[in-house]
Symmetry: C2
Subunit: 216 residues, 2 copies
Amino acid sequence: MNMKLYSYFRSSAAYRVRIALNLKGLDYAYEAIHLLRDGGQQLKPEYRALNPDGIVPTLIDGDDVLTQSLAIIEYLEETHPEPPLLPKSPSDRAFVRSVAMQVACEIHPLDNLRVLKYLKHQVKVPDEIKDAWYRHWVETGFEPLEKRLANDRRVDALTFGDTPTVADLCLVPQVFNARRFGIDLSRFPTIERIADHACTIDAFAQAAPAQQPDAE
Amino acid sequence: MNMKLYSYFRSSAAYRVRIALNLKGLDYAYEAIHLLRDGGQQLKPEYRALNPDGIVPTLIDGDDVLTQSLAIIEYLEETHPEPPLLPKSPSDRAFVRSVAMQVACEIHPLDNLRVLKYLKHQVKVPDEIKDAWYRHWVETGFEPLEKRLANDRRVDALTFGDTPTVADLCLVPQVFNARRFGIDLSRFPTIERIADHACTIDAFAQAAPAQQPDAE
């Protein structure tokens, strides 16, 4: 039985999982959850029965209901090991995972849709403060990440040599997202170069927001 | 050679790694990085040479400089598999990791010190708005997490049966942190019960902020 992915075309977390599924060559049914329509379809009881957090993605695999993008990707790595999305040695795996988590724990949680909405509607900040918030957390994360990537000998065309890893799966959606918000990334040439190269790979290109059934 | 952990007694992310090191029975040298003193010792060039993000923890193991708490814990799991901090089956591992990441990607990044400082000094919100922000993200994360934990048959004395896993390593510091900020957690009885039980285990008790050399 095919897997089913609950996704929103622009969600960075869903985008990561789409890339992983494509790299592993796994077919899946695409179920669109519109994060803005109807007050947010992710907040409806039907969806929350699957994913109480009310966020995307959710992956259904047989009886398993899987949430949290990086937990899903580790699951796919364990159940479908080829091609691997993590290097072999624990030290290299830690490097790759730490890059993934610099994006997934330090940047994305602060700049996603629900946080920006809370800032606007609950904290009631003007748009320029909200935009500065977005930019601040991208830059606060990308500045040290650029240094790490520019100085680590394991980095080549991609974060780890020229083989896609979970680090690239996190970088590409974050770069896409930052550009959509008009952030100038020219100060982060290594990050841009890696993300742009990754996007030339089929599995990444087909996971892009514009290629999804719910793209607008 | 012993490992060395750069830590701050109250840091949730460092607290997670301290518990993991204790559970694995690994000796380590404790290097205190004061997040407030001297404008934040984590921002000094000496420390940023190790950890460009300027955050704790950093773990030194031989030639390896490891960052990001969950990447460090996966590394410890791979290099010192006993006792395991993850279950055996991919499905159970995904469950445990998703609980860990509900805390590490949805709650903690929004409520840590540097975000609260940015809210206060850059966004210039009054203290009551900052406090409401803190409470909002704890509750937004804990409400669905409580439902998941209360309804999952794998949960017992701890998140996964009665064996400590990476989920408990993330829950305990988040509960500690929320209580320190005066959040009433009585609405989250399963979360409180698990965290309180975990704290009776030696490895958790000895990792508590009050037990650290830099405790105040």
